[in-house]
Symmetry: C2
Subunit: 254 residues, 2 copies
């Protein structure tokens, strides 16, 4: 049996489905940012889209609900068994320490060798590398991401000043509403959801943010622009994509 990956880079595993469009979007970015003129120049990728992972924000608010951590750990182990050598998750809230730390310890217990790239750490490292002049960073995300201080904590460690919206419910509604939210209508996103995201962005810029992190994988679907009124909008998935390609095939980073 020929081994298709004999001379190929290490396979990148993506745990998606949280939501499904965000996982697809991440694989799409890997393809778009890989320098290639024929199929065989591209990188091997496995996307495991498991929308059945219990809702992360829901569990953080009420730990009596189904726990996402063991399902996420099982998904990452499935990726490793299918051949992935590095992996990442297309979901900000899944990186909350209350979830992520238990995922990591379950992987260790299972003897996993998979190297996990941490969406939030790669984003903050990417800002420090690409935008060295910036010190004040705004953060948008689900109520779960914002109230857990997920980005704040990592940004603090790197010496950034941080801002988040005064009303996190309106932003969560833009993501979760069954009538207009991005999870229900991702392609295209509703104008209602987009305006809500832009309104929160404006608030952070007015308060002094020099860059704004779109800290929920759904948000860049609503606001794909790389900047807003001259202020960089940071898509964590793009930062993560560059870290993943750099790790497995630095010469193919487009």
């Amino acid at each position: 049996m020929s081994d298709p990956t004999a001379n190929a880079p290490v396979t990148i595993g993506i745990l998606g489905g949280m939501g499904p469009q965000a996982g697809i979007d991440l694989v799409d970015k890997i393809t778009a940012q890989t320098r290639a003129v024929k199929d065989q120049d591209h990188l091997p990728v496995i996307l495991l889209s498991w929308p059945q992972v219990p809702d992360r924000t829901g569990w953080l608010a009420d730990p009596s609900l189904p726990d996402p951590a063991p399902v996420i750990a099982e998904g990452l182990l499935t990726l490793e068994r299918a051949g992935a050598g590095v992996a990442a998750m297309a979901c900000n809230t899944a990186h909350t320490p209350a979830i992520f730390d238990r995922v990591r310890s379950q992987l260790e217990s299972a003897g996993a060798g998979l190297r996990i790239f941490h969406l939030i750490e790669e984003t903050v490292l990417g800002i420090a590398r690409q935008l060295p002049e910036i010190r004040k960073v705004g953060i948008l995300g689900t109520h779960g991401t914002l109230s857990s201080g997920l980005y704040h904590h990592v940004l603090d460690e790197h010496g950034f000043e941080t801002f988040s919206p005064s009303d996190t419910n309106r932003l969560s509604n833009a993501i979760y509403s069954p009538n207009t939210g991005i999870k229900a209508f991702s392609n295209p996103v509703t104008e209602t959801a987009r305006q809500e995201v832009l309104s929160a962005t404006r608030e952070l810029i007015d308060r002094g943010a020099e860059a704004v992190i779109l800290g929920c994988t759904e948000l860049p679907l609503a606001v794909p622009e790389p900047e807003w009124n001259g202020i960089p909008l940071i898509d964590p998935a793009s930062m993560l994509t560059r870290s993943l390609i750099r790790a497995v095939a630095p010469d193919r980073l487009g």
Copy 2:
């Protein structure tokens, strides 16, 4: 350990990477055509994007080149081991009997239980179901797909009259050219490639085609319109998507 797929539909496996954008596009269509208001309503999907599968058209033209069949079979077995119960490939040329029949026999030898949905058969069944008045069908595709009679054979069996372009090299160039081709520039596609595809479409319509199959997974990236001058443009991936969703969760077909 909780089993995330305990109450979930059968997992859909997609062997992609042929090219990468076509595999992503197929998973995207599955998400878009699934009726869902929250993540957990979506279907579990595994995309194995293996761009290292040797070029199918190249091998058909010169069987001394690396053989794609064993790599494709290994990819499908990997999908089954990772949990897929049904599977499909986002590549027309991989369904050529000279390749596909050997893949199928390798899966049988390996005792695979995976149900493979055949892109070409599902497309022709879809036309017969959705467009029952149509009898004359034009076919666009790579030189390999067209010269092997892949669609012609299945369409003939269902009583359709078939047409293909007089100059298959120009169309292959629109797909493969390293300077303007869709494999090298898929997002966005170059205007040169799009015009070449439209020119071949016009030729088939002028000769009497009542529908035109975009019989290479790259072609709908260049011409995403559902019809051209009133003539339906058939995207095989859309037909396949509907068959896959119908197989695993008919109540969620959007």
